[in-house]
Amino acid sequence: MATNTQNSSRLKRFFIGAPIATSEDSHQRLSKKVALPVFASDAISSTAYATQEILIVFLSLAAVGTAAYSRLVPISLMVIGLLVIVVFSYRQTIFAYPTGGGSYVVSRENLGKYPSLVAGGSMLTDYILTVAVSVSGGVAAIISAFSHLAPYRVHMAVGFVLLITLANLRGLKESGSLFAPPTYLYIICLFGLIIYGLFRVFVQDLGPIPHTEPFENELLSGTNSVTLFFFLKAFSSGAVALTGVEAVADGVPAFKKSESKNASRVLIWMAAILGSSFFGLSVLAQHIKPLADEEGEISQTVLAQMAEHVYGGRNIFFFITQFATFGILILAANTAYADFPRLSSIIAKDNYMPRQFMNRGDRLVFSNGVIFLGLAAISLIVVFSGQVTLLIPLYAVGVFTGFTLSQTGMAVRNYKLKDSGWIFKTIVSGFGATTTAFVAGIVVVVKFTDGAWIPAAVIPTLVLSFNAVNRHYTRVRSYLQPTDGYVAPFRTHTVVVLVGSVNQGVLKAVRYAESLRPDRLLALSVIENSDDRQRLQEQWDKFGLSIELDTIVSEYRDLTEPILNRINQIDDLDSDDLITVIIPEFVTSIRSQWLHNQSALAIKARLLFRPNTVVTSVPIVIP
């Protein structure tokens, strides 16, 4: 038995790594240069798919044809405006909550229970979607480079999620050495593409991408006018670029001193990079007209089409761009693996989520949160067959709900504290909250049928279940809490030894039962027929067992039910009786254990829920 546990724990150690002592837990402090890639990868990575999603709405859903390209820049400007508002509001949060102010914490401190639960639920769904969307996007980047991999989209995405999950179970720290190269590489590639692309467009007169395929022309030949509905829909697709902006505010304690100042710098840098690259991509796309459709018949991403066209074919620059895109998207998925377990542990600590989310594993990570996140993301990827476009409508609702509640919380806080300049601060946060609430509303309305109904249903369900979990924990605690001067009641004690046949195990169990000195002691055996009883009785006498032997015949060959009935009867005799049921059990090796004790297992499972019943196994170890 001992060797078996050792083997299984060795297998675990092979995958997870050697356990780390709690006292070894160290928090790496990040410099700004390192913090930028760690916290910004999520936000910046959304440039890889945001432009494409805007184009899909116009070309594929609204069928406005080439008119789509002239709407890219206005929409990107609107998104940037939104970004500026949100960033300003989060700057305040960073200074107000140097210990980390995620939406959940800020709304818990300032708005109360339900808003904080909504924020928590929104952020949790959002992190799951971050993983699903980012990994799907990363796989799309790879497929753009190697189109024959297209049939394995879901397999690859699931494989990558599993890899990231495993890496995080091993305790992948938010280490700069891991995050910095891909993030910076992507930023360089992105700006390289934009600058070189604009140079080629404006100086070398590079024309649009030639489109020859029939369905490509069909996409471009749309003549519908741009309605407000589709404009807002395209805008809400572009607004997913803002996901991940909250990461800096969540992680303020990870910065070097002085934390708030450094964090707000990084936030501004991130916003600058995100805003300018998103704008640059929109301008570039307006001129070279990449295509995208809803069904994913065009296997190349918009970014890949632009890179191929700008660099003049599939050369080294094209491949570097694709790999950098893949890299940053995987990192973006990875940031959710830091955020989700942390947030779920905080919510669990407040008794709104199962306690298991607070458990830290061998490597000091919240293992259950990591595993849950991985499984949830995998199921999303499988259900939506790894298509970014299908996942996007689900994405934005949670983010903007989180933004709204966090900023409302800040507005309330500023109003209450009335620090210097509180009027301005309250107005900034209030305006931000109103804007993001408006965007959240738009997303739900214009994308309701596309999938926005899913988070709109899931988040309230989560809030209700948080509440139910909390009610349960509160009830249990108040039930267990002893009142002053509480004395445990005295109970008479009845011990029942379950007997199959007389063997060493039973003899030991009876001896053990006698050592308990109960008020009443009896053996209970369920037999098949009267011959069995006589044989048992003979054995009983032969070994000089002096306790009373109850036999019941099981008319219906069931073992559990007659035993439970008899225990109920015995219990009825005394009102405040404590019953100990003793089950002799053989313990053999793990290979042969299943040959024994199946009925014991069933009886134990049933007795577990019986009040005032103790179940004791007397083990007989058979080497």
């Binding site: 009785q537 002096s546 009373e548 109850d550 036999t551 019941i552 015949v553 008319e555 219906y556």
Partner: protein, 125 residues
């Protein structure tokens, strides 16, 4: 809601617990004897009842053994104690017996102490 309740009732009448099935079986079996049903048995009345042996307990109580059996006729149960004996000829699990005597109440059960008894033929014979 009404439909759900209806389905539940239909389910319950179709899928009876084993205990009820067994009770029905015993009631059918003893119906023709027309004896006092155990369910209506009162203490201190001279009576004649019957039932199937459901449980046997052999008590080695400080050297003086006793045998305790529980009989059931589908309507209720009664305990029969034969003191000073470890086995009584013909009394075994699954056998049916007729008991004549006076029952006394002991906590929440009715007990016949060393009553007059007769065996009913078992199904196998």
């Amino acid at each position: 809601m009404k439909l759900v309740m209806g389905l539940k009732d239909a389910f319950n009448s179709k899928v009876k617990p084993v205990r009820e099935l067994d009770a029905e079986r015993l009631v059918d079996r003893f119906a023709e004897l027309r004896l006092q049903p155990l369910g209506e048995l009162e203490a201190r009345d001279r009576t004649k009842v019957c039932g199937e042996v459901k449980r046997m307990t052999i008590k080695p109580r400080s050297g003086i053994p006793s045998m305790e059996i529980v009989i059931n006729d589908g309507t209720g149960e009664a305990t029969v104690i034969f003191s000073g004996r470890r086995h009584v000829a013909g009394i075994e699990h699954g056998h049916c017996i007729i008991v004549e005597g006076v029952a006394f109440a002991d906590t929440n059960r009715l007990v016949f102490l060393n009553p007059k008894y007769s065996l009913l033929p078992t199904g196998k014979d």
